[in-house]
């Protein structure tokens, strides 16, 4: 019984290769069932996202499983073995557990700390549960992976800071304004980046958007899409009076907004704060505008600086996360070890002996006047009872059968051996 991982991700395979190996929709179910039916695979989960395809299994023999999984993958996706072997990584035992925990906690992601992966892992596990392709080992492992990811999320600040330019812009907007839904924003020009930033702003509640574009028609198109209000480009200055957030990316080669114009607008709006994001290169907004009170101007490099700082912060947090994962691997492996039959037999006997001793002590305390001979007889009888009771499970544990893992787990559960309770909270 071993945890086994075979997979490829953004580090080992380019998007072309990854696409070929993706398990999509109905193909995922089919793939999962066929994967589970492989001779060396006892339990199976498939995680397939745009950045990774991973097969998790419970196997007996890594080499055999690895061989049959390779064959399965190349047949299922109709790809030659060569390109598969280049991209595929294989882990077993502790390394496989570590890998799965790291994936769940988003340490192995392209953008470390991104939150989607945990949801994708949960979906993969749920599908496996529905299709009944998992058993004692992977069920435990997947649940553990999810709880480890949650622990990492709460105990480190790995997912806290924005690591994309448009998210950084929204994060800043949130630290300048409290009630984004009540704020008016303006798109000045309509570059791709500006559009993206606008989308994020709308995503965080901004409702009113003014769009000023050189080509008015394009502006109207965008306005329709964002449910905004188009204005003529030359008129944007008048709109500044009621605009709180400006996203600027025109193709202009000079400044479209000068300090004196901004100063005037600020006076008219009674110094209410304005957040200006200038993502155009060359810059379109006079950098000196940042010197005005209550005006906060960020250009693309400033935002990149914020992102870099956050990235660095995430790296530091990732180190903390690795430590948490090592701790959790240890508890998981301890649990897995206990699933072996020998420690289970010993634990079962100990448990029985303990019960026997307790009960005899209690009895002797109640009737202290009892004689030596009777005492012996009682002890003998108690030993006989527990021996007879634990004989069949012991035999079952010693037998070599297909579903041994399940038998071990069931016996441990039924006899209340080990700290199952703490683990399953």
């Amino acid at each position: 019984m071993k945890v086994f991982v075979a997979g490829l991700n953004h580090k080992t395979a380019d998007v072309d290769t990854r696409e070929k190996f993706t398990f999509n929709g109905p193909r995922l179910e089919e793939g999962l069932i066929r994967f589970k039916e492989l001779p060396d695979v006892q339990e199976a989960v498939i995680l397939s996202t745009c950045n990774r395809v991973e097969l998790y299994a419970n196997v007996r023999d890594t080499a055999k499983a690895s061989e049959s999984i390779r064959t399965f993958l190349s047949q299922f996706h109709n790809i030659n073995r060569g390109s598969l072997d280049n991209a595929l990584y294989i882990y077993d035992d502790i390394n496989a557990v570590r890998h799965i925990f790291r994936v769940a906690s988003s340490l192995d992601s392209m953008v470390v700390g991104e939150p989607q992966i945990l949801g994708q892992l949960k979906d993969a596990f749920e599908l496996a549960l529905r299709k009944k392709t998992t058993g004692i080992l992977l069920n435990r492992l997947m649940k553990k992976a999810i709880s480890v990811a949650k622990r990492v999320r709460t105990e480190t600040r790995i997912a806290e800071n924005a690591v994309s330019i448009s998210f950084a812009a929204v994060e800043l907007a949130r630290k300048i304004f409290t009630d984004l839904p009540k704020k008016v924003s303006m798109l000045l020009g309509a570059g791709e980046m500006a559009e993206l930033a606008a989308r994020h702003l709308i995503g965080s509640g901004v409702k009113e958007i003014i769009i000023a574009n050189r080509t008015y028609d394009r502006g109207c198109e965008l306005a329709k899409e964002f449910n905004g209000k188009p204005v003529k480009f030359d008129e944007f200055i008048h709109e500044l009076v009621r605009t709180d957030i400006v996203i600027c990316s025109t193709g202009a080669s000079n400044y479209v907004l000068m300090k004196s114009q901004m100063q005037k607008a600020m006076k008219e709006r009674k110094q209410k704060p304005v957040f200006i994001i200038d993502i155009s290169v060359p810059r379109n907004i006079d950098p000196e505008i940042n010197d005005l009170d209550n005006v906060y101007l960020y250009n693309i490099d400033d935002l990149q600086g914020v992102v870099d700082a956050n990235m660095f912060e995430r790296q530091k947090e990732a180190e903390k996360a690795e430590k948490i994962i090592e701790e959790e691997i240890e508890t998981f492996l301890k649990w897995q070890l206990s699933l072996d039959s020998v420690p289970t037999i010993i634990a079962l006997r100990e448990k029985a002996e303990e019960i026997k001793k307790q009960e005899i002590d209690r009895l002797l305390n109640k009737i202290p006047e009892i004689g030596e001979k009777e005492k012996k007889a009682i002890e003998y009888m108690a030993a006989a009872i527990i021996n007879k009771l634990i004989h069949p499970p012991t035999v079952a544990l010693k037998e070599d059968s297909e579903d041994k893992d399940t038998i071990i787990a069931t016996i441990r559960r039924l006899y209340g051996i080990d700290g199952e309770k703490n683990e399953n909270k």
């Binding site: 806290e160 800071n161 800043l172 949130r174 630290k175 300048i176 304004f177 409290t178 009630d179 006076k267 709006r269 009674k270 110094q271 209410k272 704060p273 940042n290 009170d293 209550n294 906060y296 960020y298 400033d302 600086g305 914020v306 700082a309």
Partner: protein
């Protein structure tokens, strides 16, 4: 008994202060719990201490510098908890609890004995005037703390270095709004305090205004906050300027309070 209560409250405020400074550097759920609970227990004991003194003395215990400083700290903590309840900005404690602690510490060093009330103070104005004045000043103290927080956060955003407390400080808008609200609460209280003081002066000394140093400083403070409010409404002096003004305003109050106390001149000597 009164002494024990006071020292206990001081100890709890001290704990809250230390942990609130730790909170600045390494905030966590545990530190915020310790701050809130120790400040809360301190406040409860402090309340008991003031009530106890009221009962023993038989009059409002704001008749000497020890009592006044203590009552002032009590007002500050009261407003701290009101803000905490409304906005949940635990970091505010790092800016306010040290002030509370220093005030309480200076209060503990001032003479504490309860003396018979001088005839001037034996008036119903005593309670009204002092409570109004101290509540108003406590609101200004809080505006001072919030103003500091604003300056810190504004510095991060303006300089584009989003380190340190940036994550945990509230938005500029929130800080500015709280600052404004505090001043709009503090200002009418101060105004009423001055009016009641004037009426009391008339009944006690026979003239409404005596150019006593405390009266003068109160008037200066009143003007500063009048400017803060006026400039905000007319010229849009919000944000950084408002924060700076509320800091200057509170420093003026401190000068008025302790400076005059040290000089020991004028008619307000009993405070």
């Amino acid at each position: 008994m009164g002494v024990i209560l006071f020292e206990l409250a001081l100890t709890f405020y001290f704990t809250a202060t230390i942990v609130s400074i730790i909170e600045l550097f390494k905030g966590s759920r545990i530190t915020s719990k310790i701050i809130l609970s120790s400040a809360g227990i301190g406040f409860a004991i402090h309340t008991a201490c003031i009530i106890y003194r009221y009962v023993t003395a038989g009059h409002i215990p704001i008749t000497n510098a020890h009592e006044a400083t203590s009552f002032f700290s009590w007002c500050v903590v009261l407003i701290f908890f009101i803000l905490q309840f409304r906005y949940r900005i635990i970091l505010l404690s790092s800016f306010i609890m040290p002030i509370v602690f220093i005030l309480m510490l200076s209060s503990s060093m001032l003479p504490r004995e309860i003396k018979p009330l001088s005839p001037v103070l034996q008036s119903y104005w005593l309670g009204i005037h002092t409570v109004l004045a101290f509540l108003g000043n406590a609101a200004f103290a809080m505006a001072f703390g919030i103003g500091l927080m604003y300056l810190v956060q504004e510095h991060y955003v303006k300089s584009k270095h989003l380190g340190g407390l940036f994550e945990r400080l509230p938005s500029l808008q929130t800080l500015d709004e709280i600052n404004y609200r505090l001043i709009t609460i503090g200002f009418p209280l101060l105004t009423l305090a001055i009016i009641t003081g004037v009426l009391w002066a008339e009944s006690a000394w026979g003239s409404y205004w005596n150019w006593d140093p405390r009266e003068v400083w109160s008037l200066i403070t009143w003007f500063i906050y009048a400017i803060v409010l006026h400039a905000r409404l007319i010229a849009g002096w919000r944000g950084k300027k408002a924060a700076l003004l509320s800091i200057i305003g509170f420093l003026t109050i401190l000068i008025a309070f302790f400076g005059i106390k040290l000089l020991q001149k004028g008619l307000h000597v009993f405070l």
